[in-house]
């Protein structure tokens, strides 16, 4: 039996392009350690997941998001 597909949270929010500067949005799609959440878990559609992964990587470079979270420096 097939599970019902989750609606894409990014599409639902009316976002057409995932912006790397929107760290509050991006933060919803990373794990507690700062890894990108798989779309299998978040329900993000493929198009937005591609945008998301690029955006997260840019945001990390700009120190808007951590590369590794929960690390005691």
């Amino acid at each position: 039996m097939r599970r019902q597909k989750k609606p894409c949270p990014i599409t639902e929010a009316g976002i057409r392009y995932v912006d790397y500067k929107d760290d509050r949005l991006l933060a919803r799609f990373i794990t507690d350690y700062g890894k990108i959440l798989p779309s299998r878990l978040s329900g993000v559609d493929a198009r937005h997941q591609r945008q998301l992964s690029k955006a997260v990587k840019k945001a990390r470079y700009l120190a808007l998001l951590p590369y590794v979270k929960g690390q005691t420096a």
């Binding site: 599409t11 057409r16 912006d19 790397y20 929107d22 559609d45 990390r60 700009l62 120190a63 420096a73």
Partner: protein, 130 residues
């Protein structure tokens, strides 16, 4: 999808994010920013947004905070190498990123109809889902 236009004198829209040393005075940052933007020889002035000081998600060298500035501009690709070289040499800039401008923050919301039609469209072609 945006229509592609073929132009004789190609310019592209870019977005640059600068992270300045937050220890500098606001006036010094403004001055440095102006100098850097000046290198672009812009036909029309850039849209500049100051985010101001915020904490970095991780330390960059000795810096824990940065002063963020975002600039949107239209320029010929040929000016970029020199611009980026200057940025690299500029010590007041902790980090920078120049990207093609794709979309603005807080894109316009889809209307309910658009949303519904998207839903329908995506229901039709989700056979490749697990």
């Amino acid at each position: 999808m945006a229509k592609l236009k073929i132009r004789r004198n190609p310019t592209r829209r870019y977005e640059a994010v600068y992270i300045f040393d937050s220890a500098l005075e606001d006036a010094t940052i403004a001055e440095k920013l102006e100098k850097l933007q000046g290198l672009l020889n812009l036909a029309e002035p850039a849209t500049i947004e100051h985010w101001g000081r915020r904490q970095l998600a991780y330390k960059i060298g000795r810096h824990e905070n940065g002063y963020y500035v975002i600039s949107n501009f239209t320029a010929a690709p040929a000016v970029l190498p020199e611009f980026e070289r200057a940025l690299k040499l500029e010590e007041s800039v902790v980090r920078y990123l120049v990207t093609l401008y794709e979309h603005e923050l807080g894109a316009p919301k889809l209307s309910d109809e658009e949303l519904a039609s998207r839903r329908r469209a995506s229901d039709d072609d989700d056979d490749d889902e697990e």
